[in-house]
């Protein structure tokens, strides 16, 4: 069941619930066959955006083109967009077989053609033996797969997944996300995945969009978003970030960053003016000697985390999180001791504050 792969273009999409605007000027271009993730905190509008692609909720302003066709004014049942719901939404009064066959029956397909398609879909998710069970006799993971089979059997142009893993326990979640990705690659279905879990998005998505307050903050591959966040929200939402406010100055030809507290770090590049420097916990080393690229600090707190030791260091007017790899026999720094933080400034990012 391979599809003609289609892309999704969203242009200047606005959506309001009464007075409150929940989506503001969303522009998005999803490639055919791409596994795309919407990532954001709750209330960021990521689910609303997904639901408006499926046709649920109030009609938005702007356009949503699926394979070139504008679907904004179409009801859900005319869109051919498959959606897997967070709660799976299996109908409790129908057997697994009837659940999976539902969409085909709605398409007026003769029963003789429905049966083999349902079997194929169940085989795809490896649950052929459960065809005659009722949904309440299935485990969470099985319900999830049936919901998936029910959606892909109608050969939708696009697959939408609304927090599909959030109801599974931790170990199953890791397994299911691999299976999901494998299935997506096999079917070549353009897929959008909504999640608030950055690990889920990082591990599955080809590209992702980070949303906050109904606005897309940045679009890109997981690595680009982590390494070069365009703003403080993206920097802080993806992984742990230490932020130092200050400004970029020019000293002859060389650039440098002066923190608000007055400490100076050399930079290889950067636009002059006010900004913030984003430092990941692994971008710094604790050293004894001061240097051109170090900041003086005091260790406030220490946490042993197994593979690494996390220090909270007070420096340049802020508390910074610094992770050091743990090696057997290595001595830990004591709280209260004065140290220097060596900053790998070529790994750091300057964002507008």
């Amino acid at each position: 069941m391979t599809n003609q792969m289609v892309g999704i273009e969203i242009n200047d999409l606005h959506l309001s619930f009464g007075e409150t605007e929940v989506l503001t000027g969303v522009n998005l271009d999803i490639q055919p066959g791409e596994f795309f993730a919407f990532l954001g905190p709750s209330g960021s509008g990521k689910s609303t955006l997904l639901r408006s692609i499926a046709g649920f909720g109030p009609t938005p302003q702007g356009s949503i083109r699926i394979g070139g066709r504008d679907v904004v004014n179409l009801p859900p049942w005319k869109r051919n967009v498959g959606m897997v719901f967070q709660s799976y939404a299996l109908w409790p009064h129908m057997s697994v077989r009837d659940n999976v066959g539902f969409g085909l029956k709605e398409r007026k397909m003769p029963a003789s053609e429905i049966a083999p398609k349902v079997d194929a879909a169940l085989e795809l998710v490896g649950l052929t033996h459960l065809a005659d069970r009722m949904p309440n006799q299935l485990s969470g993971g099985q319900q999830q797969r049936i919901a998936l089979a029910r959606t892909v059997v109608v050969e939708p142009e696009v697959l939408l997944l609304d927090e599909p893993l959030s109801n599974l326990d931790a170990s199953l979640r890791v397994q299911m996300r691999r299976e999901l990705l494998a299935l997506q690659r096999k079917l070549g279905l353009t897929t959008i995945f909504v999640t608030h879990d950055q690990e889920e998005a990082n591990t599955t998505a080809d590209r992702m969009a980070v949303l906050d307050k109904g606005v897309i903050q940045q679009i890109g591959t997981p690595q680009v978003l982590y390494d070069t966040p365009e703003n403080l929200f993206v920097a802080e939402f993806l992984g742990t970030a230490n932020i130092l406010g200050g400004q970029v100055e020019s000293d002859g030809g060389a650039k440098r960053f002066r923190t608000s507290a007055g400490d100076v770090l050399p930079l290889s590049d950067g636009h002059e003016g006010a900004g913030s420097i984003v430092l990941r916990p692994q971008n710094m080393q604790i050293v004894d000697q001061a240097g051109a690229d170090t900041l003086p600090g005091t260790i406030l707190h220490r946490e042993f985390m197994g593979s690494q030791v996390r220090y909270i260091v007070r420096t340049s007017g802020t508390e910074m999180i610094v992770d050091q790899f743990h090696h057997v026999g290595h001595d830990w720094r004591d709280t209260g001791s004065d140290v220097h933080l060596k900053v790998n400034t070529n790994e750091a990012v300057i964002v507008a504050s």
Binding site: A54, G55, F56, T59, R69, D70, V71, N73, L74, P75, P76, W77, K78, R79, N80, V81, G82, M83, F85, Q86, S87, A89, L90, W91, P92, H93, F102, G103, E106, R107, K108, M134, P135, N136, G140, Q143, A147, R150, T151, V154, N167
Partner: protein, 583 residues
């Protein structure tokens, strides 16, 4: 809406392209909402307002006047009826409280083995229409009834339990106390245990603790139950009529309209007073309840701490429960005895037993039973159809004015059966049955429609509860797989609501089958009469009482079976849906 598959749908139709804000989609649901609104306005609002309007009209000139009310309060019989109705309702609340309070207290405060008995006991009185038991109560508690005959023999005393208003109070409080018991027990059970423990921790105990903490927390539940009892008794027509107590408001309204005619203004004045009291009581209890939802928020914190009873207390508790049980079951026992009795007069027990009454009943009431099945059937089918439609429109759509459908349907709760009956007589006597020249007021269909309106609030609650259990995602899943709104309702929503809809149907059917107050106004010939009216007719003559009791037993079985079945369906439905609660 076309059913075209998205595969070959070339693109959105013209209709789909029009912005919804400028051209609102007119769907089947809009049409349904409109039809229901017209039905409710025509069958509930217009008749009731007509009744109220006529109460303010001068019967001769047709001018607006307060003269009817002046006349009403100048007539000593009406003044007496007014105070009697008020007195009987208030005293019924008092006695119902006396019955319910110990039962609620014993079951919620102590580890008491009889709790299960009390829980089911709470429902038994409700499955018998009060007027059915009234005659049986006369035979047990009347001047020459079982209890007084035995007491006269042993102690030489005769207590007038059933004389005049006393009889009405006794029958009504035995019938309606479950409303107080259920509400009060729920309140007590929902009190957070830590509230009581906090008071104990701060040094409060015993009666003081009860008065200062437990009682105030349980008050909203009690008031809700008491208000309901007050209204029900105030509006009831059947019981006083069967006990031959005519100097109360509802019987007066009935007698004025049935003997003097529908132009007599007094019936309307009484109706206005009945409606005003209903609305006032509901409003008063709403005010007391507002902002006082004290039920516990934390899991496992529900209910007061229970303690074991000491031996002496246990005996006392069982004695109280046994006494109340016998009292509460006496109408059922009396009715059953009477239905099998040869002759039962001036004797503690019937002279002999026979099945003859059932034979007579069956020969004479086939028509009553058939009519009942037809009327209650039509009413209940319409109730669940309209109830389901209103529930869907209110919960799932954004149709303008949808909430008012809910309010309109629920408003029927505040309209006494007598008032609705008088309203129908007034409105429909001037409209002819389609294709004939007989007035609609004497058409049997009107009886079914009155029952439909009277039971709609109950069916609506059942349907609303059923729909609330269906998660919206289940519908959206169907729509995203290509099912239209209509198809989704048919294949997903209705099947998932079926348990609740069936329960609503059974409840509406069973209670409509024994409704007397509206039907007695609307029955124009004996051949159109339902079962409840049949019981009333049988009970008018001493020789018909046995057969009347037999028909009463049939009524009790219908309601009892109905209640049991609807409980069963609700339970089954809950188990069936357990999958949906997995997240």
């Amino acid at each position: 809406m076309s059913n075209a598959s998205p595969h070959n749908a070339g693109g959105p139709s013209l209709l789909d392209r029009l912005p919804a804000s400028i051209f609102p989609r007119v769907t089947g649901l809009h049409a349904a909402a409109l039809i229901i609104a017209i039905l409710l306005i025509g069958l509930l609002i217009i008749p009731v307002f007509q009744v109220i309007y006529v109460a303010f009209l001068d019967p001769n000139t047709g001018a607006l006047t307060l003269q009817n009310f002046v006349d009403f309060f100048r007539t000593s019989l009406f003044r007496e009826s007014f105070w009697n109705s008020f007195y009987v309702s208030a005293m019924s609340v008092v006695f119902a409280t006396v019955i319910a309070l110990p039962l609620a207290y014993i079951t919620t405060r102590f580890n008491f083995a009889g709790s299960v008995v009390i829980q089911s006991l709470g429902f038994i009185p409700l499955i018998m229409p009060p007027f059915v038991g009234a005659v049986a109560m006369q035979l047990i508690f009347g001047r020459n009834g079982t209890v007084n005959l035995l007491m006269e023999e042993k102690f030489g005393i005769n207590i007038p339990f059933m004389e005049g208003l006393n009889g009405v109070i006794l029958v009504q409080s035995i019938h309606y106390f479950p409303f107080i018991l259920i509400n009060l027990s729920t309140s007590l059970r929902n009190i957070d245990r830590s509230m009581e423990e906090a008071a104990q921790n701060l040094g409060s105990q015993g009666m003081r603790l009860f008065r200062r903490i437990v009682f105030p927390l349980a008050m909203p539940g009690y008031v809700a139950g008491a208000a309901l009892v007050f209204i029900k008794v105030f509006d009831d027509l059947g019981t006083p009529l069967l006990l031959n107590v005519n100097n109360m408001l509802a019987p007066q309204a009935f007698l004025r309209i049935s003997s003097i005619g529908i132009s007599d203004p007094m019936g309307y004045v009484i109706s206005f007073i009945l409606v005003a009291f209903s609305i006032f009581s509901l409003w008063a209890s709403f005010l007391v309840m507002r902002g006082k939802d004290y039920s516990t928020v934390q899991k496992g914190g529900g209910g007061l701490s229970r303690r074991d009873l000491r031996t002496g207390e246990k005996i006392a508790a069982y004695a109280v429960v046994a006494f109340i049980l016998i009292l509460v079951l006496s109408p059922h026992i009396g009715l059953t005895l009477l239905s099998f009795a040869t002759i039962w007069s001036f004797a503690p027990l019937p002279d002999g037993f026979t099945l003859q009454n059932y034979v007579v009943m069956w020969e004479n009431s086939k028509q009553f039973i058939t009519n009942t099945v037809i009327y209650a059937g039509i009413a209940a089918v319409l109730d669940v159809i309209i109830g389901t439609a209103i529930a869907y429109i209110v919960i799932r759509t954004g149709i303008w004015g949808r909430k008012s459908l809910d309010y309109l349907a629920t408003a029927a709760l505040a309209v006494p059966g007598v008032v609705l009956g008088i309203g129908y007589l007034r409105v429909f006597h001037s409209i002819d049955i389609p294709f004939t020249d007989k007035p609609m007021a004497s058409w049997w269909v009107i009886i079914a429609l009155a029952l439909m309106i009277r039971r709609l609030p109950y069916a609506l609650r059942a349907c609303t509860a059923a729909l609330q259990q269906v998660s919206l995602a289940l519908e959206e899943a169907a729509e995203s797989l290509g099912a239209t709104k209509g198809s989704t309702i048919r294949r997903i929503v209705i099947p998932l609501m079926s348990g609740g809809i069936l329960a609503g149907f059974v409840t509406s059917f069973a209670t409509a089958a024994v409704e007397l107050s509206a039907t007695i106004m609307l029955v124009s010939s004996e051949s159109d009469a339902p079962l409840a009216y049949g019981i009333y007719l049988f009970m008018q003559t001493p020789s018909g009482r046995g057969a009347g009791a037999a028909l009463g037993v049939v009524a009790v079985i219908i309601v009892g079976l109905g209640t049991f079945l609807s409980q069963l369906m609700i339970e089954r439905d809950k188990k069936f849906k357990s999958t949906d609660q997995s997240h």
